[in-house]
């Protein structure tokens, strides 16, 4: 029982990591109906920027917001430079471009920073609290809390501000918004900027745990895909819930299903993706989508 509880607690902690990256995926999906394959690599690069700042002697609490601002700007720049020229191209084109972006950023980070894993500071200590006999470190709780805070911030922004309203309008009713004078393309850029900043948060949270190196997000992004699909790819709340479910499921399956074991945990994520897409394509919280011809 205690083992079960421990698995759930540590699963929630890794789930928090998946959740925050999944949130970034959801933001871009909502802005333009696209899954951004480069989200993980963008987060990794942002974390390297934070690392460089901190290494140059910048205080963590200054480096953090600075990195988010840089990531926000970087997201906008990426949208302006590589996405905007093909904004109205078929989805296939966009997917291939984000995949190209992922490959490019990964290679660039490798060339610039090398592949030796580095430690990355965390504001949360590794001291633990006892939850009915299972241990959770403040770092784990911090990851979970941060994903909650980010979710709340996104909710407030999208639902309670004019900018959020405009963004949603631009995404869902592009033509009508354009007629009303909304600069739709810039709203998409804003979406990319926000997603990039949210992704940067996930990178900064995950780096202290799995160490900073160019390939650190390569499998995390698969778990984040699973989380986003499970939650319903349009739903921020769904992404967070999906993240926690994926984290816990992967842990439990690895321990209690002998044919999965420790070494097929990533296959569990694949199974979740395929299972959800076939059985419940809109996920837990997604709305049925209307396919336009």
């Amino acid at each position: 029982m205690q083992e079960f509880l421990q698995l759930v607690v540590s699963g929630l902690a890794t789930g928090g990591i998946f959740a925050s990256l999944a949130l970034a995926l959801v933001l871009i999906y909502n802005a333009m109906g696209l899954v951004n394959f480069a989200q993980g690599e963008m987060a990794m690069l942002a974390t390297f920027i934070a690392f460089t700042l901190i290494n140059r002697g910048v205080n963590y609490w200054i480096a953090l917001p600075l990195t988010l601002v840089i990531a926000f700007g970087g997201g906008i720049a990426i949208q302006r430079i590589v996405i905007r020229p093909v904004e109205r191209a078929p989805l296939l084109t966009l997917v291939i471009i984000t995949l190209g972006l992922a490959t490019l950023l990964n290679g660039l980070a490798g060339a610039i920073f090398g592949y030796v894993p580095r430690s990355f500071p965390s504001p949360f200590s590794v001291q633990t609290v006892d939850i009915f006999g299972a241990y959770a470190s403040y770092r784990d709780l911090g990851v979970i809390a941060v994903s909650g805070v980010v979710l709340l911030a996104i909710y407030l922004l999208l639902q309670r501000t004019t900018v959020g309203l405009t963004m949603r309008a631009a995404a869902h009713h592009a033509e009508a918004s354009r007629l009303l004078g909304v600069r739709v393309s810039w709203m998409l850029a804003l979406g990319w900027g926000l997603a990039s900043a949210v992704g940067a948060v996930s990178g900064i949270m995950v780096a202290p745990i799995i160490l900073l190196e160019p390939n650190m997000m390569q499998t995390i992004i698969i778990y984040a895909f699973a989380a986003a699909v499970l939650g319903g790819i349009e739903s921020p709340l769904g992404a967070v819930i999906g993240g926690f479910i994926v984290g816990v499921t992967v842990n439990l399956a690895g321990t209690y299903l002998p044919f999965v074991g420790g070494d097929l945990q990533l296959a569990v994520a694949l199974a979740i993706i395929i299972g959800v897409l076939i059985l419940k394509p809109n996920g837990l919280l997604g709305r049925p989508s209307v396919r336009r011809v």
Binding site: A89, T103, G110, Q218, P281, V293
Partner: protein
């Protein structure tokens, strides 16, 4: 007859020249280079398969490396455990992989292009771990070592008569691959210009309209998946032959990306595209590693970055640039230039040349 030859469209002559060139190639390059070209042709075959799926039926697979792995392992296991002749196992690997691809195509039907891309990408990432699991069958991480293929005596003799040296196993592998490549490209060409090809293109260009005109959507989409996997299976099997070794690390997610790069660079929805794409995708990492550093005109900073970053940066940049500026790939560029040269304006003014054929699944 002479008249028919004279009036043969120029592209037939081009095909003839290319085929003759490919047949003659091993006689003028080193033996190991034949091995490299064999691997490039293997990629071309797999890319042809991907092209049928992406370019013609509009479904995006990012996991074709996994299908290649399947084909390679089927052949390797049949050849080592059941002592079958490797060449006999090639079509078996293709057919079995095709069958599994067909079955995979059934649930894929329910997925939008985006979700399909996502699921197949996850498949590509997971594939190496999946291969390791049945270690008794696949050799686990040790992989399976294959004996180098021996060219049949009469062929080797004929080759020795023509060139003065006996045929090496690399050269034999090259010719086997080339033979398969010719057959499969010819098959694809036939398939795509006839009924099935028209149906697939109609689906790609508009599912509702296609269905309205009586095309069996589900049938053709799963068929495309099956055929595509068949090509990947053959390619995987030949990949094992060319490398002489299969192991989980031979099929990283980077392989699937390499295939996509090849398909995009060559030109989606074209027949010569995959050949150009295969050669490009295979030789790019090798040359960016070995040729770039020898070039003095490239600034040192850039050259070392390219070298250190490996092919990833170049692949990524190429994918983005081609999709933005030339979505129909090299074939599209050359075709466009040729058309302008002939002073012919084909169809509507192509200001956005490049735009890929419309995909109606864009949400």
């Amino acid at each position: 007859m002479a008249h028919r030859l004279r009036t043969l469209p120029p592209r037939y002559w081009l095909v003839l020249v290319v085929v003759l060139f490919l047949i003659g190639l091993p006689t003028v390059i080193d033996s190991f280079q034949s091995g490299e070209w064999a691997q490039a042709l293997v990629l071309a075959i797999a890319i042809m398969g991907l092209n049928i799926l992406v370019g013609y039926s509009g479904q995006l697979s990012l996991g074709h490396g996994a299908f290649m792995a399947l084909g390679a392992y089927i052949s390797a296991i049949l050849a080592t455990r059941y002592k079958m002749d490797y060449l006999v196992t090639v079509p078996i690997a293709g057919l079995l992989t095709g069958l599994i691809g067909f079955l995979f195509g059934v649930p894929a039907l329910r997925l939008s292009a985006l979700y399909l891309a996502l699921a197949t990408f996850a498949l590509a990432v997971v594939a190496p771990s999946l291969i390791k699991r049945p270690a008794g069958l696949t050799g686990g991480v040790q992989g399976i070592v294959l004996l180098p293929p021996v060219p049949p005596q009469p062929l080797s003799d004929a080759y020795a008569f023509l060139t003065g040296t006996a045929m090496t196993s690399d050269q034999w592998t090259y010719y086997v691959t080339l033979a398969w490549g010719l057959v499969l490209f010819w098959l694809a060409w036939n398939l795509l210009r006839h009924r099935a090809g028209r149906a697939m293109r109609a689906i790609r260009d508009g599912e509702v309209a296609a269905a309205a005109s009586g095309i069996n959507l589900a049938g053709y989409k799963t068929l495309a998946f099956g055929i595509s996997a068949f090509y990947a299976g053959i390619a995987g099997s030949l990949f094992g032959l060319a490398a002489g070794f299969v192991s989980p690390d031979s099929f990283p997610v980077a392989l699937s990306i390499q295939l996509l790069v090849g398909a995009v660079v060559g030109g989606l929805a074209s027949i010569p595209g995959p050949l150009i794409g295969g050669i490009f995708a295979y030789f790019l990492p090798i040359e960016s590693n070995q040729w770039v550093p020898t070039q003095t005109w490239i600034p040192v900073q850039i050259a070392t970055t390219i070298e250190k970053a490996g092919p990833a940066v170049t692949y990524g940049a190429v994918l983005i640039l081609i999709m933005i500026f030339a979505p129909n790939g090299i074939v599209g560029l050359v075709g466009g230039a040729y058309a302008r040269l002939r002073g012919r304006v084909r169809g509507a003014p192509d200001r956005d040349t490049g735009q890929m054929p419309q995909d109606t699944q864009t949400v």
